[in-house]
């Protein structure tokens, strides 16, 4: 079935619908790291509200399995590809991308000149888009896009109830779930942490009730200013160590009084060079962010810097015992990997 992707600027791209075949509105971004890892991205809660263009043309080669998922439900709104693979091959492959997306309610559009689309987003910035099934007029499309509200995204993916992810460990970590990935929780638990996950709108008192050693704010979708956790963090700062990644780190930054702004087309990929300003080492990091810290408040210093565009990729505030990184650490323990960020977060030294 044919369908159109209509952009906020009126441009239209026609493709073939797959996955869950329905009309959706979202924010159109492009991701450069999806030759591998599409399954993780689709199930990453931070992808909520996103219509994701994959720059790599062949998606779905190794199929989908039941294990490599970041959350039980799929958060991504839609996936736009050049070619989807209907005959995947991998020893762990259990189903095709198409049927997985159908089951998880993610809309797919294939047969698109994804490079052309990517260049449009690059040059014009992230914009809203709609995948329309029938002929849709510009005004109709515009109206529907205007109804897209990113402020509710975090609440749509966060846990409804507080829960214990791991009940043993010598560090007591309270995770504020802004859209946490399963692999992030695993990384924390792996480091001998007792992990309790709170809804994004949990209050400071609720969190402090478990007497955490560390409060950790996860990554997630949307604008950090919309996250209810900003106020919570303000109440936590100074009482407990607060750290975060991606959206979580921007929430902390806002609570500290830093300035956060929207990037033109965001950072969505796996190859962002980030310099650790203390060691001088450069890490290749994965990022999925539309926002970035553009101004530091007093007492807050930059600890990581993006080598390519110079954006702030990490900060610390010694006075308030808070820190965060823009990227999503993958957790590896090798010298070139970013797992030390978790070590640092969980460190007993302040």
């Amino acid at each position: 079935m044919k369908a159109e992707l209509i952009l906020e600027n009126g441009m239209r791209f026609t493709g073939e619908l797959f996955g869950d075949e329905r009309e959706v509105v979202g924010e159109v971004i492009f991701a450069t790291n999806m030759a591998v890892g599409y399954q993780e991205a689709i199930t990453n809660p931070a992808s909520a509200g996103q219509i994701v263009i994959t720059t790599f043309p062949l998606i779905g080669n190794y199929g989908v399995n039941a294990i490599d998922i970041e959350s039980d439900k799929a958060a991504m709104t839609a996936l736009v590809v050049r070619e989807k693979c209907d005959f995947p091959s991998n020893f762990r492959c259990e189903t095709t991308l198409d049927s997985f997306m159908k089951e998880k309610g993610v809309v797919g559009l294939c047969g698109i000149d994804t490079r052309a689309l990517t260049r449009i987003i690059r040059d014009n910035g992230t914009m809203k888009g709609i995948i329309a099934l029938n002929d849709m007029s510009d005004s109709n499309a515009k109206a529907k896009m205007a109804g897209f509200d990113e402020s509710k995204l975090v609440m749509s993916v966060t846990t409804k109830e507080k829960y214990t992810y791991s009940d043993k460990g010598d560090r007591n970590v309270a995770v504020i779930d802004l859209g946490v990935k399963r692999s992030t929780l695993e990384e924390l638990a792996k480091r001998n942490a007792k992990v309790t996950v709170f809804p994004a709108d949990a209050s400071a008192d609720e969190i402090m009730a478990i007497k955490p050693d560390v409060v950790f704010l996860s990554g997630g979708p949307g604008n950090p200013a919309d996250a209810p956790a900003v106020e919570t963090v303000k109440n936590l700062l100074g009482k407990v160590k607060v750290c975060g990644i991606a959206l979580g780190h921007m929430v902390i930054a806002l609570a500290l009084g830093c300035k956060v702004e929207k990037l033109s087309f965001g950072h969505h990929g796996g190859n962002y060079p980030v310099k650790d300003l203390a060691s001088g080492r450069v890490l290749i990091t994965a990022q999925n962010d539309n926002y970035v810290i553009t101004g530091l408040a007093d007492g807050v210093s930059e600890i990581f810097k993006n080598v390519n565009d110079g954006t702030i990729a990490g900060f610390e505030c010694k006075r308030k015992n808070a820190e965060g990184v823009l990227f999503t650490p993958n957790g590896g323990k090798s010298v070139f990997q970013d797992g030390f960020v978790f070590d640092r977060f969980l460190s007993k030294e302040d």
Binding site: P57, V282, N330
Partner: protein
């Protein structure tokens, strides 16, 4: 760290002659290294024995030495130039080994030199088996488990531990004799007991077989601060068991999930971190397709063929970055030259699919054993970029120039199902087509996957193409609507491929396509999948919505490249294309290169103003011309690949710069050319084109034997032979007409004279000959395989005058604008013309370097309308140099089982070296040394078998060898000749006379030089053929022409050695 200011002068060692496994990719990386270092204001001292390279050009390095790549000569260069540093790993394994040797012998210390980039200690960790094993243990990396056993019981025990199948490799046997793969215990008993028996030391290596695992490569880079990145992952379509150089390879890896990908990426980066690589490194993995189990196969701590491929596939210049790291920079301090705004410290990401297909030499070596295995046999490769795997595969197939435009293959079609099944299980160069045929016949994919252990993903993609081909056969032009056309084009089908499937003409498809408005667009290769704007315009075609290649309104010219490296059309043509680009740039013209060879300088991202990485077929080239509308296209520098486009482009009314197609045709068409020679009264060996055996025999009687026979359409002397009697001729003709009834066979009288060759430049008025080259071996040896001497040593002024005269008249008659190559024979003081090529030839880089006449620059400017006079040249031969420079061919025949080794009319060499000296003998000495030929000395043993007609000529040479203290071993015939003449000789048994025979003598290692003058080549059953093959396989120097042998004895008599010869820099060649 920024630039290390203590580095002032860097020694760069090249990789030497092109051989199989070490080809143009090292000219590409070496050239990049030289540029990257020089642009920092640091001097480069370059040593390389290969004159065909761009890196050895004047101006590429501060000082260039075209000298033998031996420790002795490199030390002489060091002594003279006193570089403070050396960079290892820019010259392939050769350069790396030499750097290690310089270090081991204390030469680096002696001259106070440091190794920049990856250290020798690091290099060594990955090199030999033992330290590699230790390194893997230390870094917790798995390798295929192995153990040395000395008895059956230990063998069984170890095999039970690691599981079958087990590879059995007896220690110290050549070429894997006595080894094999044991699938179970009973097979192990058989193979192992044999292996233990055959091994000199009673030792056998048992190794777990990982045959059939996925073969995955990572190109990784690390800087001095420890930052590391992955440039590219690559996946071999052929699983472990076929050498990666002989495998079809795709980039990025296409069948790995994130878990496997990151597991291997982490392993690769862990390894290079652990050994502290400072530069690039290639890591090869085998991955069990059914689990997360993997093994590290090997690491290469240097630039490589794979790094060249990765560079071209991503746009990330690995050699350049590695050089900058060696100079002290960290990755985050090096600009990404493709974007101009970002830094080298990131991982390239690509938004297309790259396919590399090897180019094998079996079209020339029809007798060769074509099975692909662990030893590489390909001479070159093509790379294709597409938006789908199908399109990049089909583009790759048509880039190979093997006449394939679809996967439907004549020979495969004629094979039975059983044959096809057997053939895909034991791959050879036609496996892709056999697979397609098997699929076409409905053989289940799962079954094929089981037999071949190839990933189903790739088989399914091949099936997609096959299905589309079958569907197309049912279509007509009328039923072809726009959507259908677009679908086929997106899948990568060419107009010619479609025309074959539909049974219509190519123009019909072309016209329909234009009518439907289906034209390609071009996308950029930008290292970053469009995230940043790229400034280096490097394009591939696809059928999609947006075109990124926007033609400029500048004056522009397209230079057509020469495609994959093959025997007869090597790196020399890339040299010419690149120099033409340089000349055009200097003239202020926008340069556009089209080529498909990832190993070359011409496809480097900053060589031309615009690069189209595309097949060199009529359609693919014309599409670009239609878009760019250049003021002209240059064909002369791209070898036959470019020249064969001439007629088509002419028909399409595309302006061709230089000699016009009509004249090209006159030179290429034998009859037309004969008419011209007749008209100009220029002699050529008498001959005729014949259409039948009978006609041939009759003609032969008129011409007299010996005769040179060849098919009429040839490249590099393919299928050419000298026949000395009627039986040979009838055999040849019968065979030839059986293979090809449509074309005649050419029969020429064979003149055993001296061969001479010129490359000349003509502007339509004047004709400049930069120099005359004299061949050492007499006519009958292909010009590409003979030793070539400049300036000529043995020809009279009269002949020189005639060469000038004939060249002048032919060039003017053919209205040559640009280059012409003419080959002559001087026979009994008469000059005969034997071949004319209306284009640049393989000797151009050589003659350019030794005469210092910028041949390509002049020729290109002439094509743009300048005249020789206006550039300060006039008709005539450029003044000859007093330095003698001798080009010596280098062969790779040891790598090609069952291929004839002797010199003949068919070209076999893959590369060349240069010997530079103050006299013929000195240059010859250095030429032999550079080519790796053993120069016998007193006490050396020469094995001689000489055919009857040459015995008389051999005798005086043999006497001279004997006088120098050499001993002889011969079989009966030649032995008797020597004995009768008082030369001491040990008689060895012929092969039929039992053991030990002459082959055992060669294998024993007691022979230093073999002189074997064959009666006739290519007869696999003859003793001579076996002797020559054994010589090649045991790396014993072999000479098959008495002219070469005579030169060798002269060299020995001269007493030249590495002590009393000196190094001469290119600037001193005068």
């Amino acid at each position: 760290m920024p630039l290390d200011k203590s580095i002032k002068k860097v020694l760069v060692i090249g990789s030497g002659p092109i051989v199989i496994g070490q080809a143009a990719e090292f000219d590409y990386s070496g050239t990049q290294a030289c540029r990257a270092i020089e642009e920092e204001g640091i001097e480069v001292v370059l040593v390389n024995s290969n004159p065909a390279t761009i890196m050895t050009d004047r101006g590429m390095a501060s000082e260039t030495y075209i000298e033998p790549l031996t420790i002795e000569y490199i030390e002489k260069v060091i002594e003279r130039e006193r570089p403070d540093s050396v960079i290892a790993g820019m010259g392939g394994q050769t350069g790396l080994n030499l750097t290690c040797e310089l270090y081991d012998r204390g030469i680096l210390d002696k001259y106070n030199m440091k190794v920049i980039g990856t250290s020798i200690e690091s290099v060594k960790e990955g090199e030999d088996r033992d330290s590699f094993k230790k390194l893997m243990e230390r870094t917790n990396q798995p390798i295929a488990p192995s153990a040395i056993v000395t008895n059956l019981e230990d063998g069984f025990k170890f095999a039970a531990e690691i599981g079958y199948p087990v590879i059995v490799r007896p220690a110290y046997t050549l070429g894997g004799t006595g080894g094999g793969i044991a699938e179970d215990e009973s097979q192990l008993e058989e193979i192992l007991s044999q292996g233990l028996h055959l091994s000199r030391v009673g030792q056998v290596l048992l190794e777990k077989s990982i045959k059939g695992w996925k073969e995955i490569e990572f190109e990784v880079i690390r800087d001095g601060a420890g930052n590391c990145i992955t440039v590219c992952s690559m996946e071999n379509v052929d699983p472990v068991g076929v050498h990666t150089g002989d495998s079809i390879v795709v980039a990025p890896a296409l069948t790995l999930a994130e878990k496997e990908y990151n597991m291997l990426r982490t392993a690769a980066l862990d390894i290079i971190s652990s050994i502290e690589i400072k530069g690039g490194c290639n890591v090869q993995f085998a991955l069990n397709p059914n689990s997360f189990e993997y093994a590290v196969i090997e690491i290469n701590p240097r630039v490589s063929r794979s790094s060249a491929l990765a560079s071209k596939a991503t746009g990330y210049p690995i050699a350049k970055i590695a050089s900058k790291i060696a100079l002290g920079y960290n990755l985050d301090e090096i600009k990404n030259a493709v974007t101009g705004t970002t830094y080298a410290c990131f991982e390239p990401t690509i938004d297309y699919v790259v396919t590399k297909i090897p180019k094998w030499p079996f079209d020339k070596f029809f007798g060769a054993k074509r099975n692909l295995g662990t030893k590489m046999m390909a001479t070159g490769e093509v790379m294709a970029i597409g938006s789908t795997l199908e399109s990049s595969l089909l583009k790759g197939v048509r880039s190979l120039e093997i006449g394939q435009y679809t996967l439907e293959h004549k020979a495969s079609k004629e094979r039975s199902l059983e044959e096809l099944i057997n053939r895909v299980a034991t791959p050879d160069d036609e496996r892709l087509f056999d697979l397609a045929e098997l699929i076409r016949r409905g053989y289940p994919l799962d079954k094929i996957a089981e037999i071949t252990i190839m990933d189903n993903f790739f088989l399914k993609k091949i099936k997609n193409i096959v299905d589309a081909e079958e569907a197309a056969k049912k279509l007509t032009l009328k039923s072809f609507d726009k959507a259908t056309m677009l679908a086929y084009k997106k899948m990568g089908f060419s107009d010619r491929g479609l025309s074959q499937l539909l049974g219509v003409s190519v123009p019909e498809i072309y016209n329909l396509r234009k009518e439907l408005g289906v034209i390609p667009v071009y996308k950029k290769v930008d290292t970053c999948a469009g995230e940043f704007e790229a400034v280096s315009p490097y394009y591939y075609s696809t059928y999609d919505e947006e075109n990124e290649a926007v033609p400029s309104d500048k004056r522009k010219v397209i230079v057509i490249g020469s495609g994959p490296i093959r025997i007869g059309q090597g790196i020399e043509f890339d040299y010419c294309s690149v120099h033409s680009v340089f000349a055009l740039k200097k003239a202020g013209i926008e340069t556009i290169t089209i080529n498909n060879n990832p190993e070359t300088v011409s496809t480097d991202f900053d060589t031309s103003d615009k690069l189209y990485f595309e097949p060199l077929t009529e359609e693919d080239v014309y599409n670009i011309i239609e878009l760019e509308k250049p003021e002209g296209v240059i064909l002369q520098f791209g070898g036959q690949t470019a020249i064969k486009l001439a007629n088509f482009l002419d028909e399409m009314k595309v302006p061709i710069l230089g000699t016009q197609p009509e004249q090209i045709d006159e030179a290429e068409d034998r009859e037309k050319f004969d008419e011209i020679l007749e008209k100009l009264d220029i002699k050529r060996p008498k001959g005729k084109a014949v259409w039948s055996v009978e006609e041939g025999v009759a003609e032969a009687n008129k011409l007299e034997y010996p005769l040179l026979v060849r098919p009429s359409y040839v490249l590099g002397g393919k299928g050419m032979e000298i026949t000395r009697n009627e039986t040979d001729l009838v055999n040849y003709l019968t065979n030839a007409f059986k293979n090809d009834k449509k074309n005649p066979v050419l029969i020429d009288r064979y003149l055993g004279g001296r061969e001479l060759e010129v490359d000349a430049i003509c502007d339509g008025e004047d004709v400049l000959i930069p120099g005359i080259m004299e061949h050492l071996e007499r006519a009958g040896v292909h010009s590409g395989d003979s030793i070539s001497i400049y300036p000529p040593q043995n020809i009279s002024d009269k002949i020189i005058g005639e060469i000038m005269d004939v060249t002048y008249r032919i060039a003017r008659e053919l209205k040559v604008i640009g280059m012409i190559n003419i080959q002559f024979i001087e026979y009994r003081d008469e000059l005969y013309i034997i071949e004319v090529n209306p284009r640049s030839s393989r000797t151009v880089p050589y003659i350019t370097k030794v005469t210092n006449v910028p041949v390509i620059d002049i020729a290109t400017r002439i094509m743009l309308g300048e005249s020789l006079k206006s550039m300060g040249y006039k008709s005539g031969i450029a003044p000859k140099t007093s330095t003698v420079a001798i080009k010596v061919p280098v062969f790779s025949t040891e790598k090609l089982p069952r291929v004839e080794v002797s010199l003949g009319p068919e070209m076999r060499s893959t590369g060349e070296v240069l010997g530079v000296g103050n006299s013929f003998v000195e240059a010859m000495y250095k030429g032999f040394v550079a080519a790796g030929t053993t120069i016998p000395s007193a006490g050396s043993t020469i094995l001689a078998t000489v055919r009857d007609i040459d015995k008389e000529k051999f005798l005086p040479i043999a006497k001279r060898f004997a006088a120098l203290g050499c001993k002889f071993i011969s079989t009966a015939g030649t032995g008797k000749l020597l004995q009768d003449n008082g030369i001491e000789v040990q008689i060895s048994k012929k092969i039929s006379e039992g053991v030990p025979n002459v082959l055992d003598v060669i294998r024993s290692g007691m022979v230093d030089l073999i002189v074997d003058i064959p009666k006739k080549g290519n007869d696999v059953h003859s003793d001579g053929f076996k002797i020559r093959r054994t010589a090649a396989e045991c790396s014993v120097s072999l000479m098959t022409s008495l002219d070469t042998v005579a030169a060798m004895v002269e060299v020995m008599e001269s007493g030249y050695n590495s002590e009393n010869t000196s190094v001469i820099k290119l600037a001193e060649v005068k």
